[in-house]
């Protein structure tokens, strides 16, 4: 029995049991290691991916329940062209150890697609589930404002 998935535009089949969290199918079966394991219980946000554009914690999402196209950090850019969120992340030199940053950016991208001009309070609410042990929050906040402005200007 296999599970059919679309990941970053590619049609893939998973041979893992349907209750396997999407995180581990991505990482251990497909070799897409950009999506990170932090807690396994949906409290750190490191594993955040998009399913049909919506941010989801892949550590708590059984692969058999995935009902849309999956985008991971590897698919956030358009080939070599970085997305607005990634460009802002580089401009603000956000990453320290970088381990949480795939999840942070996936969460931020989903926030910006719902809310093109988030306030500081909107950012706090949307990003609170994404832990960063290095403490990069001030730069994440600034980068989200920068990315929002860039997206609005088109």
């Amino acid at each position: 029995m296999t599970v059919k998935l679309v990941v970053n535009g590619d049609a893939l089949e998973s041979a893992s049991a349907p209750d396997t969290p999407l995180l581990w199918v991505l990482r251990d079966e497909f070799g897409l290691t950009g999506t990170k394991f932090g807690c396994g219980v949906a409290v750190c946000g490191a594993c955040t991916v998009h399913v049909d554009g919506e941010a989801m914690r892949s550590c708590q999402l059984p692969v058999g329940d995935v009902d849309g196209a999956v985008t991971t950090i590897e698919g956030l850019s358009d080939g070599e062209t970085l997305s607005a969120v990634q460009t802002a992340w580089v401009a603000h030199q956000v990453a320290q150890c970088g381990y949480c940053q795939a999840g942070q950016q996936m969460q931020a991208a989903s926030l910006l697609s719902d809310n093109p001009q988030p306030t500081d309070a909107d950012i706090s609410a949307a990003m609170n589930g994404n832990l960063c042990r290095c403490g990069t929050y001030p730069r994440i906040r600034a980068a989200i404002h920068t990315a929002a402005a860039a997206l609005r200007e088109g």
């Binding site: 893992s16 049991a17 396997t20 969290p21 995180l23 581990w24 990482r27 251990d28 079966e29 070799g31 897409l32 290691t33 950009g34 999506t35 990170k36 394991f37 932090g38 807690c39 396994g40 219980v41 409290v43 750190c44 490191a46 991971t72 950090i73 590897e74 956030l76 850019s77 970085l82 990634q86 992340w89 580089v90 030199q93 956000v94 990453a95 320290q96 150890c97 970088g98 381990y99 949480c100 940053q101 795939a102 950016q105 950012i123 706090s124 609410a125 990003m127 609170n128 589930g129 994404n130 832990l131 960063c132 042990r133 290095c134 403490g135 929050y137 001030p138 730069r139 994440i140 906040r141």
Partner: protein, 750 residues
Amino acid sequence: MGRVAKIARRTFLVGSAAVAGGVAFGVYKFVEPAPNPLNSSEGRISLNAFVIITEDGVTLVSPKAEMGQGVHTTWAALIAEELDVDWKDITVIHGPPAKAYYNSALFGMALPFKDYKVNDFQQAMREFAGNGAKLLSLQMTGGSTSMRDGFERMRLAGATAREVLKRAAGKRLGLAPDALETRDGQVIAPDGRTLSYQDVAVEAADINPPSVELRDPSTWRYLGTSLPRVDMEDKITGKAMYSIDVVLEGMKFASVRMSPRRQGMRRFDASAAKAMSGIDGVIDMGEGIAVIADNTWIAMQAVEAVDIDWEPSLYPDTTAGLMQEIEAAFDAAPNTVGRDDGTADADHPGQELLAEYSVPYLAHATMEPMNATALFTDDALSIWCGNQSPTSIQSACAQEVGFEPEQVTVTTTVMGGGFGRRGEADVAVLAARIAKKRPGVPIKLTWSREEDMRRDFYRPAAMARMRGVVNAGQPVAVDVSFAASSVILQSRARPALTPFTVEQAALSGSDPEGLSGAHDQPYQIPNYRVRGHIVPSTLPIGYWRAVGASFGGFFFDSFIDEMAHAAGRDPLAFRIDMAREEHAPSVRVLEAVGEMSNWSAARSAGRALGVGFTYSFGSPVAQVVEVVEEDGAIRIAKVWIAADVGIALDPGNIEAQLTGGCLFGLSAAVMGEVTFRDGEAEQSNFYDYDALRMGAAPAFDVQILENAPYIGGVGEIGTPPAAPALGNALFALAGKRARTLPFNQSFSFV
């Protein structure tokens, strides 16, 4: 002769990564050359290699682990500054375990100087003592020493490489080297002819390097500016390879459950685990079990499904018992006297203050859980592991599988946080133990977050007894005693993995590091004594961001604040006065943070400021925290930081380290606590061991000063002043002094 691309035989093995077609350059021996760790296939390069020139540019070999502190970027800038290469042509890789990469600064810090009073003679002594690190193979990233260690050596590496390249080019062109210039990887003759570094690298490697003079800082192009990090793009595109991301042909996935009480197992029953599908084996690990499976998730589920009866812990099995063990150490004579100015124990006229403080055990909780990949064959072991100490991993893994260290290859990857945890070799040894059971099969061992919490080497809990005397607005005496286990002594005595015995834990010796943040503060107090009582405990403890100063700074600076209030003085002015005659750079950071925060201006009701100051790792740091009461809960609204790092090599990165270090300290101060029951840590994941999140993180304003005569540490210095600054602000707001961390036991936070 010819361009390097053609010299395929000169391929450098750096760990398991090969840099093909390159020529190595390095900094020269100090006393005796340590064996060159970069094996060329000719085995003839006699330099300690830090620089490899390849067809594509320049590869720099960093012995320093990139944990997120930006060390690779600054390391590259130090070399590039002298070597004259373009920023975009530089690649940085982690070096293999080798004596050539000894950490001289870490070793030098162990000398008993008042660090802030270091003079030229002492600085020379410190560098000399650093030679000892080479003898001990101390290749370790920690103690905020990376830049103190690399500052001279890396510029020398760049400068000597440049000079031999110029000499080789001069020979080709028939010109004296002094007539030549270098720019962007080219040697340029006065008549405009150019030779690239690649063109002359092979000949240059055979030239004996001349002695070189380092460039004057006023001519620096890279150093002193905020550079784009060399690892940034990989980290934001998901391409960066942490050790948890290692993928090898035929690899299997493993997880472990080792004794949370740090002793062995009485018995275990793995039948439920073995019945799960996707299981490839359950392994008796002695002090626990491992499961090999088709994916990491199955392995993690299966280790939890094994029924295990653990031996009891050797250490007291509750938090209360552990705190009693700490308190009992006060009954014995102190092991360490860190400072003893005047007569602190005498009766001095004035107002006497007595206080007891305590801090809990803390976990590291690096964002990337502990992991390592191992491949065992008949005569070789390969380890992939993000780590802060490759030489100790190499020797511990060799011992585990019965090999010589030379048979063990350690590849150090970037890491998802270190904070001291990745100086331990335990996870690599476990991976080696599993891999030895499956020769020829690469095994990736990943710990669950729960395993990561219950098998940590905790930041020690500690207690302090403080006595102070103030008179007529002046500090007269401060007499401080700390009780805590010694991280330095324990980590030297403790085996990498097997349980720590009572005999091993009965440590003798002294430990000034455990008094950091208190005995080494740049204050003139007529009677100033700081003593330490080492707690012999078998509970594993370890390095943590700023370790000693992370609690010593809290105890000492909070008590200084108490003394200021008792003396009826402004807390900021009180500190400035004590530092005035002792250390000008410290005065400046205190004044700066006062100006930045508009310290003397009145705040509206429900809003208050507190100042914290700690000198650590060679750098004074002052922080002012603003707290605001919002519907009965407290918000940390803003933090102003002023730090003096001597020479600010990369201000953007230093700012990130200061704010990150402060948030790390604030998280611990607000909510960090590991407690024990039945000999096991009670916390297991981020829901019960959390840190500040975006919504609770304050805004920051940072000023970096350069008045100190020597370069100071950066990665840890933001942490120590955070807890006292917050506690002092809470006192200013509520009139209540909380002397026990975490503060959420005494206050509620948003």
